[in-house]
Symmetry: C2
């Protein structure tokens, strides 16, 4: 890479924040919806329709015209949806959910990334919300964070759980613990997507999740097959289960804490008991240009959600499981070609049994 | 552009903020300088050197390894500068000045772009700094804004003024008004770069700039050739000058205000008097992928500095000058190939004479 290419790449980075917000603002202002409903409007028409000065509409749409998302006709000075017209509503909604989450949970907070990395705390959350601790604590107190975060996570879980459960084995009569299982969605998905005879799933999470979790089980008619145990994984993992699920969790921690969690899980299992992990992974070759995990997650975990953590390569998780006394029986990364092209996280499943 | 390509492009936009801040944080934390001084450090070495947990160093460097800015050796687990090693110190400093300005003046403020565009006010500046009005007012009260903004603007002016003065004609004995000339740098540059015999330059700006401006003239031994007039361009432009310079100014306003400024300048001039404009311009073909002005300026002006404005195409400025009673005698856009590859603004010079 020449020095000129490095500097040109820096320019790409410089326009990252403005590009991000210009695109999202065109949606937030209603400009895109207006053009979908009535193609061929001028900046003045659009401005009147969405309540924005025509000059500002024109400025923001320059980028969308550059991208050929929107077409501009010089003669009539009118705008029409171009490439954006052909994107399916469902795909657009998924992408906007992600854009919105990044705006609310990350954009401003990232300003403080350097101090957050230095201190291992979320300086941005403290500055903006007066929140101590992690995003997962702050979402309980701040509806704006919760709405944008929970909406995304529900969508992510709905998209990934079918693949996860298709890639793990549960024997008949399996007695499963869903570690950090939040309010029971994973337990419910297990019954829906892996309905082995006699399956029992217990959600393990902080005690304050109990009421909503039990309500969810009841709403799904699963109060006989599912239960809840309150506790903190760092204080120990309940015993008596033959399979422990760890979904969307290990990537939140530095190695020290990942090893603590895996060691606690190991202690809770009998030899031959299994752990099934779902986690986003970095590609083995970090220079794989099609994989965007390293473009997103380090800053997101260090600066916006945890003050530590971040995904690892699949091979790193394999070696950490082995360090903690497990024998890895499956390690599969999802084929990125199976994911919609706007989706950042590339997940993997790792299954392992406790060595004798 | 296929729907898949649109969604893939959205993903590029999604990682814009995290990429931006991950790169800048590696510099801010001192990781890059540390690697320059001592190549071949592990994450643990680096962490100890810069005071950051090794896990966090490793996470942040994944992206720089992906970009081949930094090399990672799997065997020794050590990092070395790769492409970054060959970028000249001066180039890197210029790019970092820009990155820092975008962080301080734009990153958090952009969160409020939608509301700023809707109201024509800078909601982000209000939220973050309690500032009413524009960035140019806020820099007076907030050293962090001023430092990052003024440092950049001085660098930009130093880079652009030689090209600007090489592209305008001043006759011997020219009596020049530098409109919105701030604290006199343009007047000083005129004498340095366009030293026609008998040149006089008067800086016109808000009265509070007077003391610093006159001090600057004295420091450069130009108190006889330069002077200052305090006032607001929207209340009228002083008369008696044969050339008016308008540098880095018209892009700050919507058309309505640009036309007001040009009309005031026209009223101040005798027929045959000239105006010389320096302004960043959008490419005539907005889809010119090598031009990053539309990727940056709309959101920057609407959301971070003015609540209105943004550059136009050269042809638009030509037609606005003609609307205001000028005959355009020169309209030249700088060849982007003459600019370093990290520099976003592509400037143009427009000269025009007041029609009889």
């Amino acid at each position: 890479m020449t020095p000129e290419a490095v500097l040109a790449r820096f320019r790409e980075y410089m326009v990252g924040p403005t590009r991000f917000m210009t695109l999202l603002s065109c949606f937030e202002l209603g400009v895109i919806d207006a053009l979908r409903e009535r193609p061929g409007m001028t900046a003045a028409d659009l401005g009147a329709r969405v309540g924005v000065r025509p000059d500002a509409v024109e400025q923001l749409l320059f980028l969308l015209v550059k991208e050929t998302f929107v077409a501009y006709d010089e003669g009539s000075r009118t705008y029409t949806l171009d490439a954006l017209a052909h994107v399916a509503e469902r795909d657009l909604r998924r992408a906007l959910t992600y854009l919105n989450m990044i705006k609310v949970v990350a954009l401003r907070q990232l300003f403080h990334l350097t101090e957050s990395a230095r201190t291992g705390t979320l300086v941005g959350l403290k500055e903006l919300y007066g929140a101590e601790g992690t995003l997962y604590g702050a979402v309980a107190d701040h509806p704006d964070l919760r709405d944008s975060w929970a909406t995304l996570m529900d969508a992510v879980t709905a998209n990934i759980d079918p693949w996860f459960f298709a890639n793990i084995d549960l024997p008949p009569g399996a007695n499963v613990l869903d570690l950090a299982g939040n309010t029971g969605l994973g337990a419910i998905d297990a019954h829906r997507l892996k309905p082995v005879p006699g399956l029992r799933v217990t959600t393990f999470d902080l005690p304050e999740k109990q009421d909503e979790c039990l309500r969810n089980f009841k709403d799904h008619g699963l109060e006989q097959q599912c239960s809840f145990i309150g506790g903190d994984v760092f204080d120990g993992v309940p015993t008596g289960f033959d399979t422990v699920l760890i979904k969307h969790f290990l990537d939140m921690f530095d190695k020290r804490n990942v090893v603590r969690i895996l060691a606690e899980v190991g202690r809770s299992l009998e030899p031959g008991g299994q752990v099934c992990v779902l986690v986003p992974v970095y590609p083995e070759n970090v220079q794989d240009a099609d994989n965007y995990n390293v473009d997103f997650f380090p800053a997101f975990f260090l600066g916006c959600t945890m003050g530590e953590g971040g995904p690892q390569k699949l091979s790193t998780y394999v070696s950490w499981l082995e360090e903690c006394g497990f024998t890895v029986t499956r390690a599969v990364t999802r084929d990125a070609a199976d994911l919609p092209p706007d989706v950042i996280p590339v997940p993997a499943v790792l299954c392992a049994t406790k060595s004798a």
